[in-house]
């Protein structure tokens, strides 16, 4: 269990955060820049002194201001990956990686050098110097350096923010492997929802120093606070699915979502794999009867559980599609009235297979 309670007065806001999540797992701190994410992470690391703090990983208390406990930064064993990597410029990649490893007390090792080098694909970089690396390579080395310090907790402060999209794509799979193969709790700070979607097991949405909402991504993805940050266009329920089968000639996979199955173009899917699918609210179509003669291949049967009016003549319709899965569709009020939508009404949700492309990711290992 990772327990964090931190209060800190800053010039422009008051940081006030309480988080309690099981370990290991990946907690995403999500919010606009300047909402206090980095301040929170620095307080956890001990680089900033909080006004009041309680930080504990399992039974180990890192800081408890009420009991006058404050473990010095260098003894906290927290692997911190900074946005700007902060590799030591006067050392080779190898020496950078060994820096924390050498200072980690022996006897508590759970990752070794070769394992990290292989996991992060660093073999060919070992004898280079930091200035000879690309941005993505630098972040991978920084990740490795932090891991080798045998941390109890990893803090990743927007490690991809300084990278362009192709470089981000290059590092993200490594982060997914880290999450799935090593049992180290991670706190991942981001203002890119896609990263959260791909990595998080627990999402904390922050706004002006306070926690607006937190919980599993499926719940948080439907929350208004998140919508306010990602924007209406990017709003969409996140659902868990399982690949049932895949046709290798077409690349179309059958994904079970809720009580139904949808066809989606997922060329790399493996049957049995868990996936996380985001169904964008504006992409979904609702029908009162099963329809024929349309190109849309996927129809999920469900029941309307909630209708929430928005202020632009649109409304969000929440549909229970079975097994506790909820989809959210955005329609115009006019369409809603014409169909006579109301809560408890049975309904069909139509999903275009192509609209899932780029919105389906490997789910965290359970």
């Amino acid at each position: 269990m990772l327990r964090i309670a931190i209060r800190k007065r800053r010039a422009d806001f008051q940081l006030d955060a309480m988080i309690e999540v099981p370990t290991p797992g990946t907690i995403a701190l999500f919010g606009r820049s300047g909402c206090g994410k980095t301040t929170l992470v620095n307080c956890i690391a001990g680089l900033l002194q909080a006004d009041r703090a309680f930080v504990a990983i399992d039974d180990f208390v890192l800081e408890d201001t009420d009991a006058n406990v404050r473990v010095p930064v260098e003894q906290r064993r927290i692997g911190y990956v900074f946005q700007d990597a902060r590799l030591f410029p006067h050392m080779s990649v190898m020496a950078n990686l060994r820096y924390g490893e050498r200072r980690a007390r022996t006897g508590k090792r759970f990752v070794d050098f070769d394992q990290v080098v292989t996991l992060l694909g660093l073999r060919d970089l070992l004898h280079r110097r930091p200035h000879e690396l690309s941005g993505g390579e630098r972040q991978r080395v920084a990740l490795g350096r932090a891991l080798l310090s045998q941390p109890r907790l990893m803090l990743l402060d927007e490690p991809l923010a300084a990278l362009d999209a192709p470089r981000r794509e290059e590092v993200l799979p490594y982060l997914e492997r880290l999450r799935d193969e090593l049992a180290i709790p991670m706190v991942y700070v981001s203002h890119q929802f896609e990263e959260v979607l791909r990595l998080a097991t627990h999402v904390v949405v922050m706004e002006r120093g306070a926690i607006a909402t937190q919980g599993p991504i499926e719940t948080v993805s439907r929350h208004a606070a998140l919508r306010a940050i990602v924007g209406d266009e990017a709003m969409g329920a996140v659902l868990n699915g399982v690949i049932v089968s895949r046709d290798s000639s077409t690349g179309l996979a059958a994904v079970q979502i809720g009580a139904g199955t949808i066809q989606a173009h997922l060329p790399e899917a493996v049957p049995g794999a868990h996936v996380r699918v985001q169904l964008l609210a504006r992409d979904l179509i609702l029908a009162t009867h099963p329809v024929e003669g349309v190109s849309v291949r996927n129809m999920l049967a469900g029941t309307i559980v909630r209708i929430e009016p928005e202020d632009r003549g649109t409304e969000l319709v929440e549909v229970d599609i079975g097994n506790g899965a909820l989809a959210v569709a955005r329609l115009t009020c006019a369409a809603s009235v014409a169909l006579g939508l109301h809560v408890q009404m049975p309904i069909w949700v139509l999903v275009k297979a192509v609209s899932i492309q780029g919105h389906a990711f490997r789910a965290p290992a359970a």
Binding site: E74, Y99, R103, R129
Partner: protein, 228 residues
């Protein structure tokens, strides 16, 4: 090519400059650290005191040293009685005078290099388990090396030519305190010494030029190593 007296002067200059650099380097690093990172209240005053030798007439510095370190001066008397060390009229005294005069140059260079060290790197080292001294010796100091080298070379080159403070404090003793500039001055005061003076001046030129070239060469290598 060079007479024994000339060789003596060159040798003395080199050894006095080297000793002055060795003595002042650790102190210069400490002072630079206090000026950049120290949270002491008298920082402005410390800064001013360090820079005083740059603006004072060297003779004044020599005179103050004489007052303090002379055989009857408070520190000089103690050194003499406790350790039998006499600074006046000795090459050690010349090294001390040179160290005081070149101290501001050294501190300035080291300070600049310390200011360019990103404290974020020290934070990173801290999260990786490095304590304060460990961080200083493994991160901060190595990153200051370009500035330290620049400071050392400049102070050394300048120290070769220190005149006013040396002649005031330790006088002009052949073979003991008669460095290049003092030998040059003596030659000029001696009838028919023009040729010798010209030779000594050329040697000074050559040494100074070498020093500056070495400084530039080292700075480039360092920059390349750190990828700047």
């Amino acid at each position: 090519m060079l007479s024994p007296a000339e060789l003596d002067a060159v040798r003395l200059s080199l050894s006095i400059a080297a000793r002055s650099v060795i003595v002042s380097l650790p102190l210069a690093i400490v002072v630079a650290w206090l000026l950049v990172r120290g949270r002491l209240r008298g920082r402005v005053l410390l800064d001013a005191i360090v820079h005083l030798p740059l603006v004072l007439p060297p003779v004044v510095v020599g005179y103050v040293l004489l007052l303090l370190f002379g055989v009857r001066g408070p520190i000089g008397q103690w050194l003499d009685q406790a350790f039998g060390i006499r600074l006046v009229f000795t090459s050690s005294g010349a090294a001390l005078a040179t160290a005081v005069m070149t101290f501001p140059l050294m501190v300035r260079a080291i300070r600049l290099s310390l200011e360019s060290v990103d404290p974020g790197l020290e934070d990173a080292a801290r999260t990786l388990g490095a304590g304060a001294w460990d961080r200083f010796f493994s991160i901060t100091l190595p990153l200051m090396v370009p500035g330290i080298l620049a400071g050392v070379v400049t102070a050394f080159a300048a120290g070769l030519g220190e005149f006013g403070a040396v002649i005031t404090f330790v006088s002009n003793v052949p073979g003991e305190t008669r460095t290049l500039p003092l030998a040059l001055y003596t030659a000029l005061q001696t009838p028919g010494g023009e040729a010798l003076a010209a030779r000594l001046a050329s040697i000074s030129f050559a040494l100074g030029l070498c020093g500056l070239l070495i400084a530039e060469f080292l700075a480039r290598r360092m920059r390349r190593m750190l990828g700047r």
